[in-house]
């Protein structure tokens, strides 16, 4: 059932077994897991079924640290959350991302292993409408002998990335939740205050507000906070005793260790041989509505350990030589292939590039070559070290609901900057020393901040997972150490973020949490 919270009678106390705050990838995944269960679920969503500016403005906040992306643009606050503009890129974190690293990476590692999370990763594939849980390049027809030398190890290796259609969790899963007899979705329902009493050891009620001025209360056996990497911390800090420390924050960890991926589009590889065979990286055809498999590059775990580097992945777009347009025109003229202009303009294109076209045809016949590649335009994503001083906190201003504003103080350590630059340099060195080509780095100097780099939308770490309550907000089951009936879902629990896009891990953890809560219900 999906209802409008603005129509709930003011002062109502909604009694439920499980209250989930936030209907993004994590919240919707959790709620779906309970659609056949005998337990009542209330799923609260701040927005409606569509984007609206008024609700989105509740994301406004201040950035006071290193350059950070627009807080009102990098997330979406309506049913489905940020999956409404998600690109769909999925890959699991690497085993090394879960491990403690004593080589200059303090606070690194999870209280879980990758192998322990694998069963839920496998189930997350289906939720994200992906293919099989298979990320070994060899299983996706990547032949080692087809991989150009700099990417065949030991420092760099081919990795697999699966692209979701992408799944828009809102429209895709709303029908299921609408039909679920004991799941109630409340739209326009803003979680405002978690009341955990004086002891702050158990949440008793949740105060809910709407922008229309309505207010009511949710009383549940268990609560799951799934509002996103920044908002999870914001609600915890804004709740609890009047001393302003928030709940579950005895060790001043909530909001700290805030990290994203250091990521940028930029950097160029110019191959020495424009006819370099990239067969290993040819994408599978993308059928609309289906997943797609891409080959990308990453630092190998051996290299990370040997060189004390963080995780980093790379992808690229091809920039073909201008002759491509003439060859496409020729195909249209001769075979009527593909969309294009008029026959006359196509013919003119071919004639104008006659020499290039004949060269292409000759090479195609003689050597099986394709269109020459002018360059590869890179994107990259790099792990950020957990840093206690990088944090989300509350400011003095209040939003329309009366919630304290969020203040983002995202900080990048000098080691992180140096490591990213070193890894890009290593890539350039490998490309040069193997004769593959030459590399242009957008970030050649760690002391200078690249123009295109800002904290991105992968908000992680603000309620980090750790066995020790002095080092983590939640335990390995995503339960808050200090609050017995409050769980946290989403990337805010990631103690380290690797280089992989976070959605698949968010969904896997949500599935795992659902299984755990079901066990608690008995």
């Amino acid at each position: 059932m999906i209802i409008d919270a603005r129509a709930v009678p003011r002062g109502t106390i909604v009694e439920t077994d499980l209250c989930i705050i936030g209907a993004g990838a994590a919240g919707i995944t959790l709620a779906r897991e309970f659609r056949q269960s005998p337990f009542r679920v209330a799923l609260l969503e701040s927005g409606g079924m569509q984007f609206d500016e008024e609700t989105q403005e509740l994301y406004e906040g201040r950035s006071i640290g290193d350059p950070f992306s627009d807080l009102t643009a990098d997330r979406l606050r309506y049913f489905g959350g940020s999956t409404n503009h998600w690109g769909g890129w999925c890959l699991p974190l690497d085993a090394i991302d879960f491990e403690p690293r004593g080589d200059g990476f303090p606070y690194h590692g999870w209280p879980l292993t990758r192998a322990q999370l694998d069963p839920w990763y496998a189930r997350a594939q289906e939720v994200c409408q992906l293919g099989p849980y298979e990320y070994r390049p060899s299983q996706w027809s990547v032949r080692p002998d087809k991989v150009p030398q700099p990417f065949a190890g030991p420092d760099f290796e081919v990795k697999i990335l699966q692209e979701s259609p992408p799944t828009r969790f809102g429209p895709v899963y709303a029908p299921q939740l609408r039909r679920a007899p004991r799941v109630t979705v409340y739209l326009h329902a803003n979680a405002f205050y978690l009341d955990a009493g004086e002891t702050a050891s158990e949440v008793t009620t949740l105060a809910v507000k709407t922008l229309s001025g309505n207010q009511f209360t949710v009383r549940a056996r268990f609560y799951v906070l799934a509002a996103g990497g920044i908002e999870n911390a914001r609600l915890l800090l804004a709740s609890g005793p009047k001393d302003g420390t928030g709940i579950g924050n005895a060790y001043d960890l909530v909001g700290r260790f805030f990290m994203t991926h250091l990521a940028d589009s930029g950097g160029t590889i110019v191959p020495a041989d424009p006819y370099t065979n990239f067969a290993f990286a040819t994408n599978n055809p993308w059928i609309p509505g289906k997943y797609r498999v891409d080959r990308i590059l990453g630092l190998s775990p051996q290299s990370m350990r040997r060189r004390h580097l963080p995780n980093m992945i790379f992808g690229w777009d091809y920039q073909f030589a201008p002759v491509r347009e003439a060859v496409d025109a020729l195909k249209r003229v001769t075979h009527g292939e593909g969309p294009g202009g008029s026959a006359l303009s196509d013919l003119s294109e071919v004639i104008a590039n006659f020499e290039g076209v004949t060269d292409f045809l000759a090479r195609k016949v003689l050597f099986g070559d394709g269109i020459p590649i002018e360059k590869l335009n890179l994107w990259w994503s790099c792990e950020q070290r957990p840093n206690r001083e990088s944090r989300v906190s509350l400011g003095p201003q209040r939003d329309r609901l009366g919630m304290p504003e969020v203040v983002v103080d995202w900080r990048v350590l000098a080691e992180d900057r140096r490591n990213a630059v070193d890894t890009l340099r290593l890539l350039g060195t490998e490309i040069g020393s193997t004769g593959f080509g030459r590399f242009h780095s957008v970030w050649p100097d760690a002391d200078k901040w690249p123009a295109g780099l800002a904290g991105n939308e992968h908000h992680m770490g603000t309620t980090r997972m750790h066995r020790d309550p002095k080092l983590g907000v939640v335990d390995a089951d995503c339960r808050m150490h200090a609050v017995a009936n409050l769980f946290i879902a989403g990337s805010s629990v990631f103690p380290t973020g690797g280089a992989a896009n976070p959605t698949l891990t968010i969904v896997a953890l949500a599935l795992r949490l659902a299984d755990h809560v079901k066990q608690l219900f008995g």
């Binding site: 340099r425 350039g428 060195t429 490998e430 490309i431 040069g432 020393s433 193997t434 004769g435 030459r438 590399f439 242009h440 780095s441 957008v442 050649p444 100097d445």
Partner: protein, 136 residues
């Protein structure tokens, strides 16, 4: 390799000859270089694509005290001990390509406006900028 020294000297002389006395002049050093086929480095420089733009950036990236044709030519050739003084431009190009790979392996890398170039090729491009263009 005592025998190779005069030839290498000749090569540098040839490069300098080409630099100081463009083709067609009757200067003895250039003529001598041309006679012995040691203008290979100059020929290689003349064939570099976009040498002007890249070369000027390379000049800015290299230490100022090496930014003369003579110094650059000496440094390039000093790193190519196996190249004979009679080497053709093609052989020289291959040697510099190998040297470039080794430079990358050895960390002898020059950052030129974000481009990662080997020291050998950065010097070569810088030299190309300092040599007069044919017909200029």
């Amino acid at each position: 390799m005592a025998g190779s020294m005069p030839s290498r000297r000749g090569l540098i002389a040839g490069v300098l000859g080409a630099a100081l006395y463009p083709a067609g002049s009757a200067q003895p050093a250039a003529a001598a270089a041309a006679e012995t086929g040691h203008a290979a480095l100059a020929a290689l420089c003349a064939g570099l694509p976009a040498a002007g733009t890249i070369g000027r950036a390379c000049l800015r990236a290299l230490p100022a005290d090496v930014a003369t044709p003579e110094r650059l030519a000496r440094l390039i050739l000093a790193d190519l001990p196996a190249v004979s003084g009679r080497a053709s431009a093609r052989v020289l190009a291959r040697a510099i390509r190998e040297r470039s790979r080794a430079d990358f392996r050895d960390g002898r890398i020059v950052s030129v406006d974000g481009w990662m170039l080997s020291l050998a090729e950065a010097r070569l491009y810088a030299l190309a900028t300092l040599l007069p263009r044919r017909g200029a």
